[in-house]
Symmetry: C2
Subunit: 158 residues, 2 copies
């Protein structure tokens, strides 16, 4: 629903792009959400689990940072995922305040499955696109992700 540029001043152009990107992201995620219940892995879980699998084990705080959410959000997320047997929390022996989160075998395999499910529809749509468009989107995805982690995000994660 963006693109209400009357006469695109330079600034207006970026603004429109930003707006369009924003609403595209909303719609994209909404359309993917359909697969959620099927796999038992929602977007946030999927995203967190992915970090845990590929960058873990890591402390709760590290996960919060990587996921750009507040600590309590992670507490709840990880607690629920632990209950579902996807991850485990292990007290760090050096610093006994920190809890390391690591994926279980089940978590690992569900991640593969869940990612597959969730993006499969998108991947299918992608396949129908001309090669140029696909390449464009591949580059765009990287750009967007960088854009979305602006100031001091030095997260190694992905």
């Amino acid at each position: 629903m963006p693109s209400r540029s009357r006469q695109a001043t330079p600034v207006q152009a970026e603004f429109d792009t930003a707006d369009r990107l924003h609403s595209a992201a909303i719609h994209l995620l909404r359309s993917l959400r359909v697969e959620d219940r099927a796999s038992g892995l929602s977007g946030p879980r999927l995203s967190a689990l992915s970090v845990i699998v590929f960058a873990g084990p890591l402390p709760m705080s590290g996960l919060a940072l990587a996921e750009q959410v507040q600590p309590p959000t992670i507490t709840k997320l990880v607690r629920d995922m632990e209950q579902d047997g996807l991850v485990e929390r292990v007290r760090d022996t050096d610093d006994r305040r920190v809890l390391m989160v690591r994926a279980t075998v089940r978590g690992r395999s569900l991640l593969q499955e869940g990612r597959r499910r969730r993006v499969v529809r998108l991947a299918a749509a992608l396949e129908k696109l001309p090669t140029v468009d696909r390449k464009l989107l591949a580059r765009a995805a990287r750009l967007i992700d960088r854009l979305a982690r602006p100031p001091g995000s030095k997260t190694t994660v992905s």
Copy 2:
């Protein structure tokens, strides 16, 4: 967190792009969410209000369609927005089952303000990008949005 392609088979390539796009979208929205409370317009509200302003007045069902959510979601969203004086619901005189939603003056002006706030950080980041990248993202945004409305979405709504 994507890009775990060992050897990119054709299918694998699309899968990776899809995955990356997915996680880019999550991160993008999270990073934008910071501005939410400031403007009082969350993502969904902003998106819906945008539809209402530029494609409205329109029936609840039309809004649900445009926003790709179930009717009850719209009921609540619009009810709350009405309470906040952003929109009004008017019973259609022809078909007295339908409720037309239209933006109030306040809604209109808050939309401008809200969009500005919410995407301003993104737009700023965009400005720092080389022109090629900006153009790429502008095209990508359109593509993504189309991708996200797959089968029979003939919504006129931008």
